[in-house]
Symmetry: D2
Subunit: 162 residues, 4 copies
């Protein structure tokens, strides 16, 4: 539980709140569930956050972003990560750790969010592009958590989250 709090704090330190992620979930799922609201999405996001796979992926991914940003690793590897060339690919793989345990709906929603970059995903992606921060792993983590919460809503129904 302590590690979950740390994961949420690290997300906030990097500019991402649970509510920001819930808004992405709402965007992904509102066309399928009539009347779905942000509060229900927030609860679903929190259930995704409780999972060990999510906590480990968030803590590891943000740690890589941070050491790349600070230049604490070999310059070539730093460049590889901070440039986030479309062919780097390790960021999407790490996010799979979260997505896989939430089934096929999480997987397709992850791909969709990763390409479309709704809400906070775009904000974070731009921070990376403008070299404000290294956000290579962060934007994929957000898409993965939001997509997994969308999958939970689809599987268990919104009544679970009222």
């Amino acid at each position: 539980m302590e590690l979950m709090k740390l994961a949420i704090k690290k997300l906030e330190d990097r500019g991402v709140t649970i509510e920001d992620i819930a808004e992405v979930t709402l965007f992904l799922q509102e066309q399928y569930i009539e009347g779905l609201n942000l509060e229900e999405c927030t609860k679903a996001v929190m259930q995704v956050m409780e999972k060990r796979e999510t906590i480990n992926a968030v803590l590891t991914g943000i740690a890589i972003d941070e050491v790349a940003e600070k230049g604490l690793i070999d310059k070539e590897v730093c460049d590889l990560i901070t440039e986030d060339a479309s062919l780097y690919g390790i960021d999407e793989i790490l996010a799979l750790s979260i997505v896989n345990v939430h089934g096929s709906i999480a997987l397709t929603n992850f791909g969709y969010s990763d390409k479309l970059k709704p809400g906070i995903v775009k904000v974070i992606d731009n921070m990376g592009k403008e070299k404000v921060r290294c956000t290579t792993f962060l934007d994929d983590l957000i898409s993965a958590i939001a997509a997994s919460a969308a999958s939970r809503l689809a599987h268990y129904g919104v009544d679970e989250y009222k």
Copy 2:
């Protein structure tokens, strides 16, 4: 090579040409590669079709659609497949067989195409919804092949396909 021809023929029998799939690839990739045309996309799609993983997935997926359509398997399983409830999920998993061997770009494009249903994907999906045919596996196969061809274009560059 004989099996590849059979896979292409089966796709055509179910209403999908290589060019239809290439159009989805063009849709997915044209914003990243200036001047990308349908011929280049068609060549990339053909390279995806040559892969054993693609051939096996296409032949198996279409075989399941066919036996479900004809009622040759247990009624409960038939219903499960023909209804293609969003929670079935085996169709997306089978498509991963094609997508995985083409890397992260293929994966995210697959999710994107599966949600957005551009061109022939929508046509085939509608055929399934209107119970004209069972197309549960077919639409995911199309998205997977198109997304993998998009990934090839991103990895190897369009010059490879001129």
Copy 3:
């Protein structure tokens, strides 16, 4: 719940009991949990069986084995499946549907069981090799369920299953 019962019945019809699968789980996990017994493994296997991903994969995989066995699909595809050449690969992919939702421990145990073929996995694999039945998908399904139950035991501890 009806579909879970059907999935268990189909496994039994093909020669596989829940206890057979629990024995594979016991083999995979007994070195890590002192005093682990078959009853606890059986309970863990039953929890894996309750998951929609497991039910759908079992029902679909066995349906393919059956139609291939009966020759109800194109001869070339039938041959592809019944021969279960090491390069076919769709059987392992389908099993991933079960394994993925149970995390990394399930994944590595699946690979291990698929190569080593402990207990019932070997029995079923031999049935396929001797052409008694088509068991191409069945042996991978067993490994996937057993490995996922092993992962549950590792994650939640054996006390959950006493």
Copy 4:
């Protein structure tokens, strides 16, 4: 190509040569290919090393091991990684980046090698256990590369590597 050389150098700096990995491949594949020798396995390993997915995974995974070893990241995350609890799981996910592009045979061999720890995999795993170095990601990278080379040998035949 420069990055491939760097990846090989980083592996060597951490105590792993290409030949060490080729020995794992030989162990995995010799029962299936009569007369398979270390030279052929070495060539197959080198082809896996050339892939962008491998290079990126190796450089990223070793970078994480290094920063965790040096304590350059948050203590809680450091502990999470250096302890390499069986439930951490991100190391196996990163290795999937290599394994996935090489198909199903690579996947099952990866799980097998990860559990059995043949040759250098055990040596490196022990280094981690004895806290000589942080090797959490390194042992999975080795299993993934060796398993992918085994898959190449199975797919393309040994003649390709003579």
